[in-house]
Subunit: 347 residues, 2 copies
Amino acid sequence: MRAGRTTAGRATLHSVAAAAGVSHQTVSNVLNAPDRVRPETRERVLRAVDALSYRPDESARSLVRRSTRLVSFNVGEDRPDRVSMLDDFARALARVGETHGYRLVLDVAGGTDDEQITSFADLTARRAVDGVVIPSTHVGDRRPAWLTEHGVPMVAFGRPWHAPDAQHSWVDVDGGHGLRLVAEHLLATGRRRLAYVGPPRDGGMEDDRLDGLLGGVAAAGVPGATVSTLEVADPSRLESLLPALLEEQRPDALVCRDDTYAFEARQVLSALRDPAAAGVAVTGVDDSRLARLARPGITSVAQPLDQVAALIWTSLVAQIEGRTTEPLRRLIRPALVERASSAPAGT
Amino acid sequence: MRAGRTTAGRATLHSVAAAAGVSHQTVSNVLNAPDRVRPETRERVLRAVDALSYRPDESARSLVRRSTRLVSFNVGEDRPDRVSMLDDFARALARVGETHGYRLVLDVAGGTDDEQITSFADLTARRAVDGVVIPSTHVGDRRPAWLTEHGVPMVAFGRPWHAPDAQHSWVDVDGGHGLRLVAEHLLATGRRRLAYVGPPRDGGMEDDRLDGLLGGVAAAGVPGATVSTLEVADPSRLESLLPALLEEQRPDALVCRDDTYAFEARQVLSALRDPAAAGVAVTGVDDSRLARLARPGITSVAQPLDQVAALIWTSLVAQIEGRTTEPLRRLIRPALVERASSAPAGT
């Protein structure tokens, strides 16, 4: 158990281990699973605990007291006008969690870090859950550090943006790689004038996607291949913004930030009833229900949510059981799902 | 910390209260509802808890708190090819639950009654939750009776089909009324040849919707108004089945069982590129993201999920706190949301 405090003079798990002449894992076992430790060793460790007045932190004590076998998951902001993959992710997480004997508790605290940290504080003060999964991260995210400092087992779905020294566990999907796959696919099917459609750069995930596309096109070295961008903070604005882009840039492919943008772009193109517009390829990201239900189906980037869920639970359960060593840091490659919205030109 | 040891001088709630100079109710609040206690008091009590190595044992704890403040909710079957309102309902339920101090635990047990009853048995044996919400009901549903017999506080979202003597609490949305509203709306906008598109009758919810439509058309007494039906178990089959219906019945409106059917029907009509097909009105049920995101927007029947959630929690909390008298039995009227997919003919 990684205690977050490092006050000078305060006994730590390691100083107890040194005093008792055992490994810190053994100390952790004495506190969390005393039946796994031989009585003589247990006594020696407990004497060192007493001698050094060692107090394990809150979460360690809650482990001693009881395990709830519950993990909190914030369902995030409700966007009635979007289809996100968050609901699918919650299901995947709940399903994999059950195989470990854990259940997911929905946390509906509001969208700011402060609101969610207040909720974490409440949950941990009441020892209501054994750990926390953060469903997405943003630039300057203060939640992982709070949880780590308070010794709460946690894994974030989302990398620590611009925080290479972060010590918490996380898994993320390599969105940049996904957009590189989109670039390769569109260039291979004959497209040359790509237009990226999405919200403005945010220094984090949005940059990752756009830069993946730009990098993919550059790396392909296809003569005449260009990328223009259409910044649209809200996909419902595509109806008014897309026609001008089509006229000015004459793109042959719209590379959309996610399936909601792609779905809306397809609908706008279709409503124009213009053969040129109808031939423009459209791609999305998330492989959501929207991408699957649309006709033609929308080419998209599938996030391997079951794999993400499996990694998260393996790390989380190890942390909860006090046998974790290194934080989990894992970037997973997504896969391209080709559908008719980007079929080779002329087919 | 004396983990794993039992000593004669074991601390009690009262010794902690005495050491902290507070009432035993305050100690209980700190452990079970810390937000009710001022931070300074909370700190003082927690210091006493530490100093005395106080550990509330499970049974004492459950006596003190009488409540986990958790309610289980089965997320149901995952249908990757459909957009359901279940995710929206889970959010609404979690949001309203929080105002009562309760959180929702996701249950991913499989779709059969037996699988879910096994899960209920596990949850109640471990006293892991205070109650259960059943997210939908079906003909011959055995879950409400099991929960009632085992004294588990519960509310079903869904009426007891063909079980008028059922003694459990439930809330349902009057789907038949919703389809009557659709009938009135379509007749008022000049449609006369309505076609109902949905799965076969099931003796329960499916009948309720179709009969609502038939009853609404009959009650309107509009000369020449007819209703034909197209039984389609899977909406993706509409692409092959709908053209024949259009040719044979020449409907001027497709009344769809839900938004997924309506969305698919709209896409099939649009792909026909036939002005007659383009003029056919389409309606759905659920007022889902699909209905809102589609262009033209799809007229739908909105289920008042916040109202349903409020009724469910009021009944559930009363049952949990042991002050309930009569079971809740409540059918709520949904509202029609008019969108362009059923705009008056000729507009």
